[in-house]
């Protein structure tokens, strides 16, 4: 396995949100503004990297039958850390993310990486996988939040982009707006993929 492969997989070919469609619930809830998206993304990167690291370290001593509870308690430890640090230093962000920080514990991306990758690979690859997957999640979240915040609120990272004549489309801030945005992005990614495949491989007839 190559390091580039691990990196591109997390960021692109197996992007947790757009390709694997994992963790859509926090994506819906925290992509209403770019600020929330960045905060959530950083929290996930931290938890994912640390848990991947620790799980990879102890992978040879964890009994197979109780591996899930062990993974969950490791993840919960790091989530509690993030939760408390955020409450102490970024109280506003902590308030707006609310319940979704503790809910990272049950985020399927993190448990999925622990189960599918960190428990089978060495320390370095697990670390890289955590960073790549976390960044892929954050990038996806920020992309969705960009569309939603600009269309639904007329701002980007809290900076007003339009004059007073702009009428924000409330739908984009509601959960249905997130579904529409995600569907649009996935559809365009698939369309792009298909076109590229057609170009590289002339159809065999």
């Amino acid at each position: 396995m190559k390091i580039q492969e691990v990196l591109t997989r997390g960021l692109w070919t197996e992007n947790p949100v757009f390709r694997l469609m994992l963790g859509l619930c926090p994506v819906l809830a925290t992509s209403t503004s770019v600020q929330n998206a960045v905060g959530m993304g950083i929290a996930v990167i931290f938890v994912l990297t640390c848990s991947n690291l620790l799980i990879s370290l102890i992978r040879s001593v964890v009994p197979d039958k109780i591996r899930i509870p062990i993974f969950i308690s490791i993840i919960a430890t790091f989530v509690t850390l993030v939760d408390l640090i955020m409450a102490a230093y970024f109280p506003d962000l902590h308030k707006s993310l609310g319940l979704f920080i503790p809910l990272i514990v049950v985020n399927c991306i993190i448990l999925g990486r622990a189960e599918a990758f960190a428990s089978k690979n060495n320390l370095f690859f697990s670390l890289m996988d955590g960073i790549a997957m976390g960044s892929g999640f954050t990038a996806a979240l920020c992309l969705i939040a960009t569309f939603r915040e600009i269309l639904g609120n007329g701002t980007w990272l809290g900076i007003p982009l339009f004059g007073s004549g702009f009428e924000p489309a409330l739908l984009m801030i509601l959960p249905s707006g997130a579904f529409f945005t995600i569907a649009f992005i996935i559809a365009s990614l698939n369309g792009w993929d298909r076109r590229r495949k057609r170009q590289t491989k002339p159809s065999v007839q």
Partner: protein
């Protein structure tokens, strides 16, 4: 008539357009040429959107899209900014119809999808700004004006809203029947204007005329129409007797909130309505009951819109249920 390469000929849909004619002409009189422009804009947007989808496969634009476009324009407030109208029409056809696979495959009535989209996206423009309709004494009123506003006012009150605020006396039945809805009423010490509602929903008489034509032509299934109106009147009358606070009397309920337009033209949409005969009774009354409940007990005064979308959603289930019941009995 020759088969056009661009349009799919559908005679049933053409009849719906004819049936909508009188009420649409009335909206021209009540609000001015803006009604014509909004309809034209809606037709252009819907047709172009559908063409973009069918273009590659060499398909043709269905005439149903014109019905969608005209109905959609008729259920919008006459004060709506034009770009919102275009956005809603785009959404109606792209997501309400083409995303499901085009004509014949749409689960929801596209015109309703467009309106619901606007209703949620721009609530202020869809609920807070109305125009009083022209009086008959103002003739020629809208026929010679771009935007006829005899009372020189924008208002926030639809007929339903006005009646809920206790304006029943200044809104005689005759006005509701002809659609020339205007006047003023007192609420909390303020004098408010009464708006006419959406472009084409106001004239009860002309809409009924068009609707009966459709039923007579067998474009609209009579079971749907009958079950809808019967259930609407009976259920609202029952609720009115039981808890008359928020629930209007059945006649007012019938004449406001686009009930007649919805009952004749939306509930009977041949694509999104149910197919089996028994399910049609169920479908019509389900929508009527939901409409009365939503309109009376929630914040949304346009309860019929949500009721019809709910009906569309459960329609296939009703068909399936009725069919499987029939099968079970035979066995």
């Amino acid at each position: 008539m020759r088969d056009s390469p661009l349009f799919l000929k559908q005679s049933a849909m053409r009849k719906v357009v004819w049936a909508l004619g009188p009420a649409w002409l009335a909206s021209l009189f009540f609000y001015g040429w803006i009604s014509v422009f909004m309809t034209a804009l809606s037709i252009a947007t819907c047709a172009v959107t559908e063409w973009l989808f069918v273009r590659k496969k060499g398909g043709r634009i269905s005439e149903a899209v014109f019905v969608t476009a005209i109905l959609y324009a008729m259920i919008l407030p006459p004060t709506l900014p034009f770009y919102m109208l275009v956005l809603g029409a785009l959404f109606a056809v792209a997501f309400g119809k083409m995303a499901f696979g085009g004509f014949g495959a749409n689960v929801f009535n596209p015109a309703m999808v467009g309106r619901a989209f606007l209703y949620i996206t721009f609530p202020v423009y869809m609920t807070g700004r109305w125009m009083p309709a022209a009086r008959f004494s103002d003739f020629p009123a809208g026929f010679t004006a771009w935007r006829f506003n005899g009372m020189e006012a924008l208002t926030s009150a639809t007929p339903i809203h006005a009646i809920q605020e206790g304006a029943g006396k200044s809104l005689p039945l005759l006005k509701l029947l002809t659609g020339s809805i205007n006047g003023r009423f007192e609420s909390l010490g303020q004098t408010l204007m009464i708006g006419g509602g959406s472009l084409g929903e106001s004239s009860a008489v002309l809409l009924t005329l068009g609707g009966l034509f459709l039923v007579y032509q067998k474009v609209a299934k009579w079971r749907l129409v009958l079950s809808f109106f019967a259930a609407h009147v009976i259920f609202q009358a029952a609720l009115h007797c039981l808890c008359h606070g928020p629930v209007q009397d059945p006649l007012t309920g019938l004449l406001t909130g686009g009930t007649i337009l919805g009952g004749f033209f939306m509930v009977t949409d041949p694509v999104s309505a149910v197919r089996t005969e028994k399910a049609q009774w169920l479908y019509g009354s389900f929508i009527a009951v939901m409409a009365v409940i939503i309109r009376s007990f929630s914040l949304f005064s346009s309860g019929l819109m949500f009721a019809i979308l709910l009906g569309n959603m459960f329609g296939p289930l009703m068909d399936l249920g009725i069919r499987s019941l029939g099968k079970g009995r035979k066995r």
